[in-house]
């Protein structure tokens, strides 16, 4: 199997607090993998390390794409995005005062070829490229049934749609690897079911590898092929949902304290 992401001995502490300790994980191409663990286990910190928001204290992160290997530890978030890693945030971080269209369109900036001069004078390929950007954005918004709300401000969308828009914005950067931080948080069962279908659909449509943090066990058990379990910053188990479900350490650390659906 060819790996897309290979993380070794990843560690990060904040002051005296070891948020992530010697975590090893990998993702194979096309896999959908879950990352679970109780509150404060270090899941979001892992995402922040993978996307360059924090610099790891120790360990290596390598991304494989198109036969090339890139190490991500020292890179800035925008570089990591450009290498093909897209993400969403646990506490939604949309551009709230911009329209739905602009949220997605801005994420496509990498494909824009016209320079500063064309931007100032609206000449050269400006008009053509802008039209293409709008067309591509609308196509993407259609997948999330947001095309009808293209000109609404992001902050005026209902919560569930904001979560969808954030995924759409991440997809607009054309990632190979998508990191979703609790995409179903705050959704009702019907919305979660809808989201589950959407994730599976975009995964096929965009040929994605996905790492998913989620507290909703029904979602994790349903769509994840493998699951990693974090507790106090350390990996305590890894395996298929079936195996994880019956692992006594996991049950003790996590499943025991969460209503298990």
């Amino acid at each position: 199997m060819n790996k897309v992401l290979d993380v070794r001995k990843l560690s990060k502490s904040f002051g005296g607090l070891a948020a992530v300790t010697a975590v090893n994980l990998h993702l194979n191409k096309g896999e959908l993998v879950g990352l679970i663990g109780p509150n404060g286990a270090g899941k979001t910190t892992c995402f922040n390390l993978l996307t360059g928001i924090y610099e790891p204290d120790k360990g290596s992160i390598s991304l494989h794409r198109d036969g090339q290997e890139y190490s991500l530890e020292k890179r800035k978030p925008h570089e990591i995005c450009r290498l093909g890693v897209g993400r969403t945030f646990q506490n939604i971080r949309l551009f709230r005062d911009l329209t739905v269209l602009d949220n997605v369109r801005t994420a496509m900036n990498r494909t824009v070829k016209y320079g500063l001069f064309s931007a100032l004078f609206h000449i050269g390929s400006y008009h053509r490229e802008e039209r293409e950007l709008i067309e591509k954005s609308m196509e993407l918004l259609k997948i999330f049934e947001l095309d009808g709300k293209a000109l609404e401000l992001a902050k005026n969308l209902p919560y569930g749609e904001q979560r969808h828009l954030e995924i759409a914005r991440a997809l607009a950067t054309e990632p190979a690897l998508l990191l979703l931080d609790e995409p179903a948080a705050g959704m009702n069962p019907a919305e979660t079911a809808q989201l589950t279908r959407t994730i599976e659909w975009i995964r096929k449509r965009f040929d994605l590898t996905i790492l998913l943090i989620e507290h909703d066990m029904s979602l994790v058990m349903k769509i994840c092929e493998r699951v990693y379990v974090l507790d106090y910053g350390m990996l305590i188990a890894e395996g298929t949902p079936e195996v994880i479900k019956n692992n006594p350490r996991v049950v003790k650390a996590y499943l025991g304290e969460v209503a298990y659906a």
């Binding site: 369109r105 931007a119 100032l120 609308m138």
Partner: protein, 320 residues
């Protein structure tokens, strides 16, 4: 739908021509006397300054208190060049060289300071403007505290309107481009912007440099119209005056900046008759407006010229 989303925006050129023609008519018929023309010049210079500061502070979210510094660079460079080449080409060369010099300093200063956030950036830019002022105060070529006198006057309505409209249109074009949207996304959420591949530092510096360039243009026009320059003209209070226009008009609204500049010009012209009460009224007017509309006159909305094309088709453009 597509046509509604995609704006051609030719209306602004027609509008600019119209305003130019009306102004020219007033000049030719003599309605615009020297006093009114000097008010108009101050207004146009303030518009350029406010619109360019709005790009930095309102659209990109970088709080700068150093705009007067960039203005002074444009002013002095333009003065020095046009005093040696006292012709129209010399004046134009001066304005453009001054603007480029301001942009260059913006780049040198912006690169290290734009990594700072909020209050720290404000203090750093304030310090920068002070340093620039002190340099002009001590340089021989700028004649120190006495300043430069007898700068050749070339600013007429044609150049004034040309530079003002170009500044507004170019900055507005920039904002409605992929590069401009990158700047706005940084204001909205820098971490999210980085996570979608936007090089935040690069775009902050870009906005800062463009803003400095146009502040330099404003300085050049100032030098050439008022024909004398002193370092005290470019102190802290001028940077604040510009910021007041931006905040009053609405952070992130270019038309707001223009409207606020016009409004303040009107207020201070009408208060001209009561010199002792002028500053008091001015301050009270500011306080009242900010209490009634804390988001500024326009908020982050734009006054769309497309309204002229078809009434009733309401449209919201936000910050883009």
């Amino acid at each position: 739908m597509m046509n509604r989303l995609f704006e051609k925006g030719r209306m602004k050129y027609i509008f600019a021509l119209l305003v130019f023609a009306i102004g020219q008519l007033l000049v030719v018929t003599g309605y615009l006397n020297d006093y009114l023309f000097s008010t108009l010049t101050t207004l146009c210079i303030n518009i350029i300054l406010a619109v360019s500061l709005n790009l930095i502070t309102g659209f990109t979210g970088q709080f700068s208190l150093g705009h007067a510094g960039f203005m002074s660079i444009g002013g002095y460079v333009c003065a020095l060049i046009s005093m040696r080449i006292p012709t129209v080409p010399g004046f134009l060369l001066g304005v453009l060289t001054g603007a480029l010099a301001a942009a260059f300093v913006g780049f040198i200063v912006g690169l290290p300071t734009l990594r700072l956030k909020g209050d720290y950036l404000a203090i750093a830019t304030l310090g920068m403007a002070e340093i620039i002022r002190i340099i002009f105060l001590n340089l021989k070529i700028t004649n120190g505290a006495a300043g430069l006198n007898g700068i050749p006057q070339f600013v007429d309505w044609m150049w004034l309107s040309l530079f003002t409209f170009s500044s507004i249109i170019l900055i507005s074009n920039f904002i409605r481009s992929a590069h401009g949207r990158a700047c706005v996304s940084i204001r909205e959420d820098e971490i999210a912007a980085e996570s979608i591949g936007i090089h935040a530092t690069k775009y902050k510096v870009t906005a800062f440099v463009i803003g400095a360039f146009f502040a330099g243009i404003a300085g050049g026009l100032y030098a050439s119209y008022f024909y004398f320059l002193r370092p005290t003209l470019f102190g802290f209070s001028r940077s604040i005056d510009i910021l007041v226009i931006v905040v009053l008009g609405g952070i992130g609204s270019l038309s707001g900046s223009v409207i606020a500049a016009i409004l303040l010009a009107l207020i201070s012209t009408y208060l001209q008759a009561f010199p002792e009460l002028r500053m008091v009224f001015y301050a009270v007017a500011l306080v009242v407006i900010m209490i009634v509309r804390p988001q500024g006159l326009m908020g982050s909305k734009e006054l769309s010229l497309d309204l002229l094309k078809g009434f009733g088709r309401k449209r919201q453009r936000g910050g883009s």
